[in-house]
Each structure stands twice: as structure tokens, then as C-alpha cells.
């Protein structure tokens, strides 16, 4: 008897713990509870996040976009999210759950959800799926992404002017084109103002692990790098630079507060315009399969909060380049573009199209080492 009671108690404790950690958090909207049935059911929109909304970076930026869309559409939509969804079979389960719970528009916010989403999309024909940073689409699934490399390029301009050792550092996450592009753009931006610049790269093979990110940043600084950028999701790299008296950037969100002395600028992603567009189309019924790749022009990418230690002329250079990119006058991927193996990838004045950009898996000249998994 006693044992049965104990195990029951233990069981309930484990269950309680799982409830606290494992479940998605739905934000109830007070408007939905108002007296009198609403004329139309609100559109249910769900988001699957790879990290915690409190990461201060990638997932935080998505969640800010979600909140802004909610503000825009009020009680015409009802949003929910599940955070910390691993890029594994779990993702499929979570996304399928979202579909069965009556969500009609589902956003998956990391590359690794592409295959799971595709699978669920074939089962739920009346649900619309949106996948971030991927390239596969279906009848009811489309892809969206941002041109984060535009931000990396402008950050590179500032870095190229601010470095004293002519060595930049990059804390990279997972070797996919998105990340390799940003390493290259950062280097190209720096070389556009300082041809002597080289970039060292350390891969941590994770999107989010502040400890590892910080250790990687330490290794880069010990190796002579003095201006760091990262493609990981936390603010640890910036803080490590602050601690060691070097310079760094914020990524995805404004990170000034984490290291005011080290913070040169933040290359941010603003997902709100896209989420407003996508949800608006779903409400109006004009949603169709397409691929959206938004950059500075659409207000999805920006470089903000340029620090006071950046001289006025450098600040001006960055602002001018931003304006050029916004007006469509400048393409980061303009030849001559040479790989770090010495081979010319783009001839003089040739411009890389989106297909080229999507497949970048090589380092440009000036980046040290080799892209992992690229034999």
C-alpha cells in the first residue's frame, strides 16, 4: 500500500515537472472570452520555436514578430507557440499537434523543421504551413527567409574599420548555407574598407549554448581576433568580448544592454512585417505558395544601435551602405568573388542570383579554414 502511494505521489510529481517544462504556452486572449459569441471564429495561428523565447536572440525576434502581428489583427486571430522544439522527430509531433488543435496557419522557425513540416503538410491539406530559412515548398507550404547577410555585410564595414589586429572572429553555429553566407558577407564587408582583413571561424555546432559560445569567443580572442560576430542565438559572444576588452556585435535582436562597452552595433531581424503580411493574406484568402526572401528593402533586416565608440565617418559609411542596399543599388554578391581556395566564383561585375546565394557553401578569400562537411 505504502509503496503504491509513494509511486503515485512520485508519478504526479514527474507529471507536474513535465507539465512545467514540456508544454507549450498558450496566451489566452481576453477578447475571446467576451460575452456574446464572436461573429467569426478567430484564425488560429501557431509558431514552433527552436529555442526559448527568452534567448534574447533568434527566437526572441520571432516572438516579437508574433506579438506585433497579434497587436495588428487583435481578436481576428489567436496565436500560440511551443518553444524549445528540437530539430528532430519531436518537431513532427509538435507540428502535427498544432494542426490537430485547429491551427490553420503554422510557422516553423528553424531550418531543421523543413522535412517534418513537409510530412505534416501532406496530411493536413486545409492548413497553411510557413517554413523559415528552408527551400522546399508544397501545395500548402511555403518558405520565407531574411537576407541576414545584408546585416552581416554592414557589420563587416564597421568591423573592418575598428579592428586593430586585422583579424576578425566569427562564432558559427551549424554549417548550412545561411551561416556560411553570413561569414562571407561579414568578411566581404570588412574587406571593402580594409583589404588586409582576415576572418577566423569557430563552429560550435549548436544554435544555443551560451557556455560553448563564450568558450568559442575566448578561443578566437586568444587567437588574435579583436572584433567578433556570431551566428548563434544568445548574447554570450558579446559579453565575452566585453569581459576581455574586445569588440563585438549583437545578432538577431538589439543586444546593447549585454555589453555596452563592446557593442559596436546590432544586426537585427524584424519578422513583424512578414508575419503581418502572411497572416493578413491568410485572413483575406489571398495566401498562395511562393518564396519570400526579405531584406533591408522590406524592413526585415537592419543594423541598429551603432555604439558611441564608432567614429562618425565609419557610422556614415555604414548608413550609406544601408541606404544603397535598401534602394537596391548594391548587391553583396558582386564579382569578382574569389573563394579561399583561390578559384574565382563570380567574374567581375557578375551578380549572384538567389539560386547562387542559396547554395553558398564555400569561404571567400580571407576566411581561414574550410567549411566543415564540405570535403
Amino acid at each position: 500500500m505504502l509503496n503504491a502511494r509513494r509511486s503515485l505521489f512520485l508519478g504526479s510529481m514527474v507529471a507536474a515537472a513535465i507539465l512545467v517544462t514540456g508544454c507549450g504556452k498558450e496566451e489566452p486572449k481576453p477578447a475571446a472570452k467576451a460575452v456574446g459569441a464572436p461573429k467569426t471564429e478567430p484564425l488560429k495561428v501557431a509558431f514552433a520555436y527552436v529555442g526559448p523565447v527568452g534567448d534574447g536572440g533568434w527566437t526572441f525576434a520571432h516572438d516579437t514578430g508574433r506579438k506585433e502581428a497579434e497587436k495588428e489583427f487583435g481578436d481576428r486571430i489567436k496565436t500560440s507557440y511551443v518553444e524549445n522544439v528540437p530539430e528532430s522527430a519531436d518537431a513532427e509531433r509538435v507540428i502535427r499537434d498544432m494542426a490537430t488543435q485547429g491551427n490553420k496557419l503554422i510557422f516553423g522557425t528553424t531550418f531543421g523543421y523543413m522535412e517534418p513540416m513537409l510530412k505534416v503538410a501532406t496530411e493536413f491539406k486545409d492548413v497553411k504551413f510557413e517554413h523559415a530559412t528552408g527551400y522546399k515548398t508544397a501545395d500548402n507550404m511555403r518558405a520565407y527567409d531574411v537576407r541576414a547577410y545584408e546585416g552581416a555585410y554592414v557589420a563587416g564595414i564597421i568591423a573592418g574599420k575598428m579592428t586593430k589586429t586585422n583579424t576578425l572572429g566569427f562564432v558559427a553555429s551549424i554549417p548550412i548555407p545561411e551561416v556560411v553566407r553570413n561569414i562571407n558577407a561579414y568578411t566581404l564587408g570588412a574587406q571593402s574598407v580594409n583589404p588586409k582583413v582576415k576572418t577566423k571561424v569557430v563552429w560550435v555546432n549548436k544554435w544555443f549554448d551560451p557556455g560553448k559560445e563564450s568558450e568559442a569567443a575566448t578561443a578566437l580572442i586568444n587567437g588574435g581576433a579583436d572584433v567578433l560576430l556570431q551566428n548563434t542565438d544568445s548574447s554570450a559572444v558579446l559579453q565575452t568580448a566585453e569581459k576581455m576588452g574586445k569588440l563585438a556585435f549583437g545578432w538577431d535582436s538589439n543586444m546593447t544592454a549585454y555589453g555596452p562597452k563592446a557593442h559596436l552595433a546590432s544586426a537585427i531581424i524584424n519578422w513583424a512585417p512578414y508575419y503581418k503580411k502572411a497572416i493578413g493574406e491568410a485572413l483575406k484568402g489571398s495566401w498562395k505558395v511562393e518564396t519570400n526572401w526579405w531584406g533591408m528593402k522590406e524592413g526585415a533586416i537592419d543594423v541598429i544601435a551603432i555604439g558611441e565608440m564608432v567614429p562618425q565617418d565609419v557610422k556614415k559609411m555604414a548608413e550609406e551602405k544601408k541606404a544603397e542596399i535598401k534602394e537596391g543599388k548594391f548587391n553583396v554578391w558582386t564579382g569578382p568573388l574569389v573563394g579561399n581556395d583561390g578559384k574565382e566564383v563570380l567574374a567581375k561585375d557578375a551578380k549572384g542570383d538567389d539560386k547562387f546565394i542559396a547554395g553558398i557553401m564555400f569561404y571567400v578569400r580571407g576566411v581561414e579554414g574550410k567549411v566543415p562537411s564540405n570535403k
Partner: protein, 304 residues
């Protein structure tokens, strides 16, 4: 060579949270109790310490608050596993899951905040010695504290009456009970010490190592510390060795990458774990050896 000194310094910093938690867990396990809640206690302490450090602006207050939070959280484990004699492994796992959720919930308002502490230190005069200064004498005081704690615990376990009693309780609780020691009180005390040390490790991460709070920031270090106790065959100085070995392998793989040495980074990421498996395989080649060191009643419940 000039790369070596900062590499040593980074290794010592990276090994410190593992050492702090590992030492606590050694005392914990020497008393015969396995607490798999290490990760949960570290997370709770990380957020509690961060909150106090943020509110008071004092790193010392934050560190103490973290240790106290870890200790208090371990009392939940003691109440269940020692008081009600629930299964230690399941209770510890529940504590980790609970700690992960509770810390995320409690820390919501601290996300994105930073604490304005000085996190760089150096020992006057010694820090100016070429090479050794940069390698050993420019570290945070907690790094030295962890070593001091190791020395104290090693001495306590081997040379004092208290250590003898803790070990007796872990080897044969029935005998200790028969000669009049309160097995449960001693075990609660050992678990509380383990909780306080895990707490210090957690708050070291959130206030000193990467001074920020984000959900899940302990990132598996509690589990590594648990593995370290077995790795070290429950000997304090071997825990220190293991903790720094782990720290060094992590740092070396990043340093190699920063040097542009072309080894697949995925392969390098596995190195710490391969190192653990190799050492475990080596020490357990002789089964008598591991049994000789392992507390005989480890993980077994005691009914008074």
C-alpha cells in the same frame, strides 16, 4: 607558445563549474545517496543568484544566494528520497525536470538583463610573472575557491571524524545506525552540501562565466558533473583532474579551430565525451578497482 597561457587560463575557468558541482556530488554520493537533480539545482541557483546579484549589485550576495537556493532545492529531494524513501533516481530526475521548468518561469523577467560587475581580476605581483601570470594568476577568485574547496573536502573525507561518519553511512548505513548515528540526518546534510555546491556552480555560470540569465543555460553541465564523480572514483582530487580535463578538451577543440586547423569540428565536439569513455573504460578494466572505491550502499534506500 604565446597561445598556451590564455588556453590554460580558459581551461581553468571552464573546468571550475564542473569542479564545484562535482565536489559537492562526491560528498553527496559518499553518504550513499545519488542525486540526479544536479542540473535542476544548478539552474535554480543560477536564476536565484542572478536575481539577487541584479537586485543588490553585489556578486558576493549573488553567490551566497545561489548556494542557499541550491541547498534549499536539495531539501525537496531529501524530503522525498530520504524522508519518504522514494526511488532516488526517479526523484532526482524529477528534480531536474522541475528545476528546469521552475527556473525558466522564475527567470522570465531577468531575460535580457545584465549585471554590472567586474569579472576580471588579477593577483598583484604574481600576475606580472611572464607566462605563469597570464596562465594562473588572472582568474576569478571563484577558480581558486574551487581548488581550496577541493582541498578542504579531501581532507575532511579522509582525515576527520565527520568524513569517517559520512563514509560509514555510505558504506553500511545499518552499522552506522546500530552504533547510534542518525543515518538520515547525515544524509540530509550531505545532500544539502551537494546542493550548495551545485548552487555555487550554477551561479558561477550565470554571474561570472557568462554573466546573463537565459533558460536552460546550464546546458548539461550538471550531468557532466555527475559523470565526473564516477570518472573520479569518488576521490576529490581526481574530480579536479577530470573537471580540468573536460575543460581543456573543450577549449583545445575551439583553439584548434581558431588556428584554422582543418579537422571536422563535429569530430572535435565529440572529444570531451570520447575522453570520458576512454578513461571510464580504463579505470573499469579492473572491476575490483571501481567496486573498491564506490560507496557500497550508493543509491540504496535506508529504512531506519
Amino acid at each position: 607558445m604565446e597561445q598556451l597561457a590564455p588556453l590554460i587560463a580558459a581551461t581553468l575557468s571552464a573546468g571550475t563549474p564542473l569542479l564545484l558541482a562535482g565536489i559537492g556530488l562526491v560528498v553527496n554520493e559518499r553518504s550513499g545517496v545519488v542525486n540526479l537533480g544536479a542540473e535542476g539545482m544548478m539552474l535554480i541557483a543560477a536564476v536565484a543568484g542572478f536575481a539577487v546579484g541584479f537586485a543588490t549589485g553585489s556578486p558576493a550576495a549573488g553567490l551566497i544566494a545561489g548556494a542557499v537556493a541550491g541547498m534549499l532545492f536539495s531539501l525537496i529531494f531529501s524530503a522525498l528520497a530520504i524522508g519518504l524513501v522514494t526511488n532516488q533516481y526517479a526523484t532526482g530526475l524529477a528534480l531536474t525536470l522541475f528545476g528546469a521548468g521552475l527556473s525558466a518561469f522564475a527567470g522570465l523577467s531577468y531575460v535580457g538583463k545584465s549585471v554590472p560587475f567586474k569579472t576580471t581580476f588579477e593577483i598583484p605581483l604574481l600576475a606580472d610573472i611572464p607566462f605563469f601570470g597570464a596562465a594562473f594568476f588572472k582568474l576569478h577568485p571563484m577558480v581558486y575557491f574551487a581548488l581550496l574547496l577541493t582541498a578542504v573536502v579531501a581532507w575532511m573525507l579522509a582525515r576527520t571524524r565527520l568524513g569517517l561518519v559520512i563514509r560509514a553511512v555510505g558504506e553500511s548505513p545499518e552499522s552506522a545506525h546500530a552504533i547510534g548515528y542518525s543515518v538520515r540526518a547525515i544524509r540530509v546534510g550531505a545532500v544539502a552540501f551537494g546542493g550548495a555546491c551545485c548552487g555555487l556552480a550554477g551561479v558561477y555560470l550565470s554571474l561570472i562565466y557568462t554573466p546573463l540569465w537565459v533558460e536552460g543555460m546550464v546546458a548539461g553541465r550538471g550531468w557532466i558533473a555527475l559523470a565526473l564523480t564516477t570518472f573520479a572514483t569518488w576521490r576529490p582530487w581526481r574530480v579536479a583532474l577530470g573537471a580540468y580535463l573536460f575543460g581543456s578538451v573543450t577549449m583545445i577543440q575551439f583553439a584548434l579551430q581558431a588556428e584554422g586547423i582543418e579537422i571536422a569540428s563535429q569530430l572535435l565536439s565529440m572529444m570531451p565525451y570520447i575522453a570520458t569513455i576512454v578513461v571510464l573504460a580504463l579505470i573499469s578494466r579492473n572491476p575490483a578497482f571501481i567496486r573498491l572505491n564506490m560507496p557500497a550502499s550508493l543509491g540504496k534506500p535506508f529504512h531506519p
